[in-house]
C-alpha cells in the first residue's frame, strides 16, 4: 500500500501543567498557558513517519483544527518528519464548540479531498478524553477502524493490528483505507532534531482551510451543547427529564437531525446538560 496518510494532531494544554478553572466556571484557563501536541497524537505522527521510513507509504500529512496557534502543533509534526501540514482554521466561538463530531466531519472531508489511504489519530485527547474522533471518522467514511492500536503492520492492502482492550490483546486484520487510533505502547515518539525544526519553520507547506460552506470542505460547525446553571433554567426548578428537554429545545440549539445527544443531570451548579432529542 503506497499512498497518503492523514495524521490528526491536536493542540492541548501540556500534560505537566496544573489546570485551573476559569473564575466564571465556563472552562479552564488557557490564555498564556503552555500548550503542546497531544501525547497520543505524537505517537500517531511517529507511527506515520515510521511507515514512511519503511517505504510503506508515500506521504505524511499533518492536520490540525483550531485557531492560529494550531500551526505550532503542525510545525512540531513537520519537525518529526511529516511532509506537509493542513491547518483548518477554526477560531472564537466555533473553536469553543469544536468537538469530536465536527472534527471527524472535517477529517472525513479532507480524507476524500486528499485521497488518503490511512488516517492515523491518537486514541483520545488529554483535555477532553472523548475517545470519539477516530471512531466517528471511520463511521462517516464507512471505513474499517483499528482503535487502541499497540502494534500496526501493513500486509499488502490489509493491515494487521493488535488492539489493547479490557480483556487483553486483540489481533485483527482490516482492509484499507482505514482509520487507526494510537494507544500508549504503539511506539516511543522521536525528538525533533535541530535541522528538522529549522526546515519546518522555513517550510511553508501548511495550507489553510476554512470549514464553512464557501469552501470545498462544507462542514457545518454547530454547537451541540450549552452549559447553564440549574437556577438559570426557565420553567422552575423541577428537574424532571421532560422539563429539561423542553428547555433545551426552547434554547434553540438547532441540532442536526440524527444527532445523538445524551442527557446527564448533575448535582450542584453549572453541570453540562445535554439531552436525547
Amino acid at each position: 500500500m503506497s499512498g497518503r496518510v492523514l495524521v490528526g494532531v491536536k493542540r492541548v494544554i501540556d500534560y505537566a501543567v496544573k489546570i485551573r478553572v476559569k473564575p466564571d466556571n465556563t472552562g479552564v484557563v488557557t490564555d498564556g498557558v503552555k500548550h503542546s501536541m497531544n501525547p497520543f497524537c505524537e505517537i500517531a505522527v511517529e507511527e506515520a513517519v515510521k511507515l514512511k521510513e519503511k517505504k510503506l507509504i508515500k506521504e505524511v500529512v499533518a492536520v490540525s483544527c483550531g485557531p492560529q496557534q494550531s500551526q505550532e502543533t503542525i510545525r512540531t509534526a513537520l519537525a518529526m518528519g511529516a511532509d506537509r501540514g493542513i491547518h483548518v482554521d477554526v477560531s472564537g466561538k466555533d473553536y469553543e464548540n469544536l468537538g469530536p463530531l465536527q472534527v471527524s466531519k472535517i477529517l472525513a472531508a479532507l480524507a476524500k479531498q486528499e485521497d488518503a489511504q490511512l488516517i492515523l489519530l491518537g486514541k483520545q485527547a488529554i483535555d477532553d478524553d472523548c475517545n470519539q474522533t477516530g471512531q466517528m471518522t471511520a463511521a462517516l467514511l464507512d471505513w474499517p477502524q483499528g482503535t487502541f492500536a499497540s502494534e500496526v503492520s501493513l500486509e499488502g492492502d490489509k493491515i494487521n493490528l493488535v488492539r489493547e482492550i479490557d480483556g487483553g490483546l486483540e489481533h485483527i486484520k482490516i482492509n484499507t483505507p482505514a482509520v487507526i487510533t494510537a494507544d500508549l505502547r504503539l511506539n516511543t515518539p522521536r525528538y525533533a532534531t535541530l535541522p528538522n525544526i529549522m526546515d519546518s519553520l522555513m517550510n511553508n507547506e501548511t495550507e489553510l482551510h476554512k470549514p464553512n460552506h464557501r469552501t470545498s470542505l462544507c462542514v457545518g460547525l454547530i454547537p451541540l451543547f450549552e452549559t447553564v446553571a440549574p437556577e438559570d433554567m426557565q420553567g422552575g426548578t423541577d428537574r424532571s427529564g421532560a422539563m429539561l428537554r423542553h428547555t433545551v429545545l426552547q434554547s434553540g440549539l438547532g441540532l442536526h437531525t440524527r444527532s445523538l445527544v445524551v442527557f446527564s443531570i448533575g448535582i450542584g451548579k453549572n453541570k453540562t446538560k445535554l439531552g436525547t432529542v
Partner: protein, 396 residues
Amino acid sequence: AALGRKNWKEDETSRRTRLREGVPSATAASHGLTDEQKEFQKVAFDFAANEMAPHMAEWDQKEIFPVETMRKAAQLGFGGIYVQPDVGGSGLSRLDTSIIFEALSTGCVSTTAYISIHNMCAWMIDSYGNKEQREKFCPDLCSMEKFASYCLTEPGSGSDAASLLTSAQRKGDHYILNGSKAFISGGGDTDVYVVMCRTGGKGPKGISFGKKEKKVGWNSQPTRAVIFEDCAVPVANRLGEEGQGFNIAMKGLNGGRINIASCSLGAAHASVQLARDHLLVRKQFGETLSNNQFLQFKLAEMATKLVASRLLIREAAQALQEDRPDAVAICSMAKLFATDECFNICNQALQMHGGYGYLKDYAVQQFVRDIRVHQILEGTNEVMRMIISRNLLSES
C-alpha cells in the same frame, strides 16, 4: 513530548527537576525568543527532563561518562551547534547555543558543560582549520562518533595561559610535542585533543594520562592530566599558522565563557523551580514556607538575579555573533556576573530546603556542587575582572 518515552509516570528525579511552566512566570526562559528558538529550547528541555535528569545523580555518584546519552544528543544536532552545516554542524547562532545549553543544563550541569567544551573544540577546527582538517575531524565530532578535549591549562600555567610550556618542535612533516596539560575535561576518554603548544623557543613515544581526578562536582566527565613525551603530531594537524595559537585559543574562550555561563543559568533556573516547589509544600509553624516573608523576598531576589544573568548572557551571545567591538568585554562580564550570581542562587535554594537540601537524594546539592567550578574555569572570575578593567582603562 514526554509521554511515551518511558511510560506515563515520570520517575522521582525527572518529576523533581521537570520545569512545570504552566503560565510562564517572570523567570520563564522562553520570554523574548523567536518561534524557532522556542522550538529548540523545547527539544532541549524535553531531552534534559527525559534523558538526563533521571540519571544525573547516578552519573555523579558512579562517575559515569554518559557516552550513549551524549550521542543521542548529537543525533538531535547538539554535537556541533555552531559548526557549519557543510561539515555536519547545525549552523546556529551563539544565542541559539546559549539557549540550548541553558535548557540542557537543567538535566545535568556536568554533562552539558562537557558537551559545550566538545562543541568549542569542533568549532575551533571548523573555523580555523583548512578544508582537509574540517572534513577529517568535524563530521565525526558533530555526530559524537568521536569526543574532543580542549588542552590549554598546564600545572604551571592556569590564569597565566600565555606562559604555557608545552613545546612543539618541527621535525620534517611532524611536530614533536613535549610537556603536560592539567585538568583536561574528558582527558583519557576522548578521541581528539585540541592542544595549545609553543612552537618557537622553549619548549616519547607519545601521549599519556595522569590519574583520574576526584572532584567535588563535574563527576560525569573524567578529568586527567595529559602528558606528551616526544609525541609526534603531523604538521597537517596544525590549525591556522604558527604563532596564531594564542589568538585562536582566546577566541574559542569567548564562546566557551558564554556556554559555561549558560550552564550556570540552567542550574540556577532549575534550583529556583525546586526551591519554589519546596516552599509551597514544606510546612513549619502551621503554614507553608511560602507564607514566610523572608523566604518570599529571598525567592524574589533569586529570580531577579536569574533574569538579570540570563539577559546579560544573551546580550553577550548577540555581541559575539555580530562580532561587536565590545564582544570580549561583555562575554567576560556575562561569565563573571552569571557564574557568581547563579552559584549564589543555587546555594540559597539549597538553604531553603533546610536539612533535606544537604542530602544527595535531592538534586539541589548537585547543582550547587556542579556549578561551583564555573567560577574558576574558562578563565577565573578574577581574570574576568582583569579583562573588563583593561577594556575600561585602556587609552584607545
